[in-house]
Symmetry: C2
Subunit: 120 residues, 2 copies
DNA sequence: CTGGATCCACGTAGATACTG
DNA sequence: CAGTATCTACGTGGATCCAG
């Protein structure tokens, strides 16, 4: 959880932040949103940098927040599928805004740093 | 910085995330946005839980990202004023979306946890 | 294949004291 | 009043091994 319940303006912003800042959560969510249901191993391939342990824990947290659904098939070998829940889809506006802003920000900072000097 | 430059869907989302997740950044931004220019000491009063050291460092990071402006008045005793830059205002859509979602999420989780049981 | 448990390294935040 | 420096404590992530 965050902190601060005394600043009405803020607290709910951090509620959202706390849920999506898991360092890998947003990328996992986006993968599942855009590429659909995926198995554990498939996610690992889609996100090569993430460790086994991290993928597990981040998926658990996302599941606890009802953002993704975990379906276990009682087979040997085990098979588990993850997908974004309907509720998880409600994060789209936030992720969209962040994507837009993040993209623009790269340009902003590039200009500030003198790169992109008028190249005409 | 984040990680991952191989997943086009994601990277720019984390660009934005990395900038606003400083644990105190969003609240500082919101205070400055809604209450206007504030001095260092005023911010401390508005956010009592933050430590002196943290306020300093978070303000510095926000400044480095062009989100806030720092104005030093060469007086004795020192006086420094912080305000949101025009560029910082572009974060409003994100903060708004997160605020809305965060608020709704509290309700969502309350229901999930069996609270709010139909009290008719 | 999926995932839990353990050990360890590192970053980040808190507390405190000091400076201009 | 505003800011810096140091020292410490803790959470979090990485690596590795074990299990169903």
């Amino acid at each position: 959880m965050s902190q601060n319940t005394k600043n009405p303006d803020n607290c709910n912003v951090n509620v959202a932040l706390d849920i999506i800042v898991g360092k890998w959560k947003s990328i996992i969510l986006l993968q599942l949103m855009f590429r659909g249901t995926k198995r554990f191993g498939e996610l690992r391939k889609l996100i090569p940098e993430i460790t086994h342990r991290m993928l597990t824990s981040q998926l658990r947290e996302l599941e606890e927040n009802d953002l993704i659904k975990r379906v276990v098939y009682p087979e040997i070998p085990p098979k588990v599928e993850y997908s974004v829940t309907e509720y998880g889809q409600t994060l789209m506006p936030i992720l969209n805004e962040m994507h837009k802003w993040g993209t623009a920000h790269q340009t902003h900072m590039a200009q500030k740093n003198g790169e992109l000097r008028n190249s005409l």
